[in-house]
Symmetry: C2
Subunit: 211 residues, 2 copies
DNA sequence: ATTATCTATAGATCTATAGATAATGC
DNA sequence: ATTATCTATAGATCTATAGATAATGC
């Protein structure tokens, strides 16, 4: 029947997970329907509870996976130790931007669900901290050394990362709002985001530049 | 009974609107319950439908008001025509930041509900465009003149506004995510956001500075 | 024997309305 | 007479499970 998007495998558990991901990412926990997930997965509704027991447990599987993915994306983006500092940061901005561009629903999903239920986040916090702390410290050390050499402006590595993530993420999150307001600028979606990427690099490079 | 947060007025319609705002802003449309709104407003559930007919209509009242408020906040922030360009932009960043700080739930709410149902946005689009277009054009003109005098770097006004809004909004949206990761930095919430405000001003001023 | 799947339905909400009653404004 | 309010309930979902049946692996 539906050979279009979600061609079902012979693995119903995987089909359910895949359908659940799409449903939860687009509708959020409260808006998602287990019946819709079952239908999209091409299984009867009872199967969903057979494999995952409850809606909450199925959701937790998806959320945890996405949290880990989000943390790793930051790590992967900036973990190019062979490059000199400024090139490494520029490269990191691009990699992180590309990751968000490939997963534009992710930030909204995570931000919302953690806001709605902060307790869902508790178990993952430590994992993500362990993942990101080394990056934070090594980046801070490099920034300090570079500033000591008068190559760049001194800055807190955490503030720099928030700057980068803010610039990279927000345009994707807010696109449905700004698109109708900026018709011509956003008419070509690809081109608009290519411009945003360059703008973000330029903004951060200037933030670090010694004047 | 509950003299704490939502002391009810003698105006039940206003009480319902007030309770609906809190419920919708914190839970979103899908997560909000009309029974919870009625209870918080101290009215019987049927009154909600008497005044607003449906959940959707009540929601639309809140969403439209918030959309208008969000648009006006940008206009109000940057509409200080007596100041020279750079001072005006710096002042605008601060005003806009303070508005978000006073309404930290607003961006998430708007962004989510428009994403979930873009059609809800259609009627308001034109209003907001009319509101913001003059700002965009006058700002662009000033930026062009300033760049022509070699005082600042040339930039598209829309890109600059996206930069500012990204930086100002994202830390509030993502606070529940980053707080546990940056324990010491975010321990004092007020202080953290005061730092963010200065960081955003610095970043944008440097973006515009002629090197 | 165990695992996977289906049908049918319980039980819990949630939105919405019908219809009666009380309050209010001429 | 009109507007505001309450009680009671219809009707629609939605999650979850019970229990039967089919498929699978030794």
């Amino acid at each position: 029947m539906d050979t279009t998007k979600k061609r079902h495998t012979d693995n119903k558990e995987a089909d359910i997970l895949h359908a659940a991901e799409r449903e939860f990412l687009s509708k959020g926990y409260a808006g998602a329907r287990t019946t819709a997930i079952a239908e999209a997965a091409g299984v009867t509704h009872a199967m969903l509870h057979y494999y995952f027991r409850t809606k909450e447990q199925l959701f937790k599987r998806i959320l945890d996976e996405k949290l880990r993915l989000m943390g790793q994306s930051v790590l992967a983006a900036f973990g190019q130790p062979e490059l000199p500092l400024m090139a490494r940061i520029k490269d990191g901005i691009e990699r992180h931007f590309d990751f968000i561009a490939a997963n534009p629903e992710l930030p909204r999903f995570i931000v919302n669900e953690i806001f709605a239920h902060p307790e869902r986040y508790e178990l993952m916090q430590e994992n993500i901290r362990v993942l990101l702390n080394p990056l934070q410290y090594s980046l801070q050390q490099e920034l300090d050394e570079s500033a000591a050499r008068n190559d760049t402006e001194p800055i807190d590595a955490r503030m720099l990362l928030i700057d980068i993530i803010s610039l990279n993420v927000f345009a994707f999150i807010a696109f449905p709002i700004i698109q109708p307001l900026l018709g011509d600028l956003t008419a070509d979606r690809e081109h608009f985001f290519a411009q945003r990427k360059q703008e973000n690099i330029e903004t951060i490079m200037r933030r670090l530049k010694k004047l």
